[in-house]
Amino acid sequence: MSEMSDVNQPDTWAEHMAIAARHPRRVEIVVGLSFFLAILSVFALGWIFTQKGQPQIEGMMLFVLFGGIGFGMAAWGKYLMPKGPFAEEREVLTSEENQERFSETFQRGRVAVEGRRSFLAKMFVTATGLMGAILLFPLRSLTDKGPQADGPLYKTQWKPGVLLVDETNQPVHIGTLDVGGSLTVFPHGYTDAADDQTLLIRAATTPVAPPDRPDLEKWSPAGYLAFSKVCTHAGCPVGQYEAQYQKLLCPCHESTFDVLDGAAVVFGPAPRPLPQLPLMQDDNGYLRARGGYGEPIGPGFWSRGG
């Protein structure tokens, strides 16, 4: 212990009060340097701010500033302050005496409250309960904004005869897409409607239908197919059209849909095929919806039906 006596006055607790450093002088130098670096970095930061700033230098200077202070403080505490170990007794958390006194006091009060006036207590409980119920009532206004049965949760703007347009409101002609092309389309006049977004695909030059539903060829003029772009799993835009595999892939959770089989799910968590939009070609060669989607688009919800 004698080597520490230069900074510690030896006494009864000298060993506990002793510092941890064997070379306190070295530590003092390092801690001092650490604080000095922090001071320097303040000036460096000030200079950078006058130079319109630079994120990387700012970050590094902040690192030096905080790191200098932090390292200095921690080293000071670790090496130059009493190393202990010290002990304190835990306080006793619980005692039966206190518990008894508590329940005594509580019972005394309770008797004072409702001993002869229990009807008042019942009235009070009733009043506060009713108050809670009536304060819940404004929440009823949610239903005004809520999902109505004919609202957008159930129906889109796709209706029979609606013209297909792209994002810039240009109508889609039968010659717009080559085979292997895809385009995001909207019902005419609703290019901002997130739920109406539909992926138009040209899978072939002649009508395409699922193997088990050859009658749906009439939905597919000149090999065009249109599916809701809202994934039936979690609503992400199903935008990855794999022209070679004839698959649609959702980039969020990798649900995969078979284009040639009515967007049937072939992989991933999506529980239902993407709803298909029936198409037709008008007299001028433009594509129109033959009808709306036959079911609510997008992910499932409670009142969607069994």
Binding site: P55, Q56, G59, A74, G77, K78, E167, H173, G175, T176, L177, D178, V179, G180, G181, S182, L183, T184, P237, G239, Q240, Y241, E242, A243, Q244, Y245, Q246, K247, L249, P251, E254, T256, F267
Partner: protein, 291 residues
Amino acid sequence: MARRAGAVAAVVALGIGLSLVVFGSGARAQNSESSTSAQGQAPPQPVGDGPLGKTGGTAYNDNALTPEQLTGRQLFVQTCSSCHGVNAEGTARAPTLTGLGPATVDFWVRTGRMPLEKPTQQAIRKNPLLSAKQAREIARYVASLAPGGVQIPRPNLAGADLQQGGELFRLNCATCHSFVGVGGALSYGAYAPSLKPDQPIDIAEAIRTGPGNMPRFSTAQMSNKDMNDIIKYVRYITRPDDRGGLSLGHVGPVTEGFVGIVFGVGLLMLAAFWIGDRARPEPAVTGHGHE
């Protein structure tokens, strides 16, 4: 894929390493099946890659070709015909090229994706076997076999609109190639490649011809101006303004989380390890047993 992101993902994936190899190889077999069926091919078989003497029996009239087409034909016969047939009519191993037009052939050959060693794998960009001029000659030759197809586009970035290109990129391209063009996963082992090495002409040809699983964008759907805008944005976003610091591979929160845990929490744990005490004293250095 950026190497840095890859390295990080490697560590992430270490925990499932062995089983993944087992399952992965099974899936690969499946992949090749699906890709070959999609191309209407027979089961894969090894392909000789040399300039095989398979030219005998062809009825092609060399005298009707221009000198350039003649060079193209020679190159085609040497490097392509073993799979695609002498007259590009297609074989059991590879599809026909007739009627595709020059842009398709030029893209695949010039970016080194063709010739392919094994027809089952997804063609990746590599150092091209043939020069750009030779690729062009092959393309002209194949185009001369049948009319139609996509002509080689001429991208012109002068006056292209970077901002409009960004909007189109995010709508049409980012879905597969990701917001900074590093690529992404597709089904059954296919993937969208990184756009970083692509020259404007590569991007233009890919847009117009839709190589592999990529959709193709006709001029009726996407004007040449739109195409030029997109190319300008791709050239920017694959070398983006990373003023926040290290890019961490541009794959988003996966690497960010990894860096945050390892370099943030990890280093702070080391700091705590330094500040605090360990449960046990340092082991003494003593001799053996009883001495």
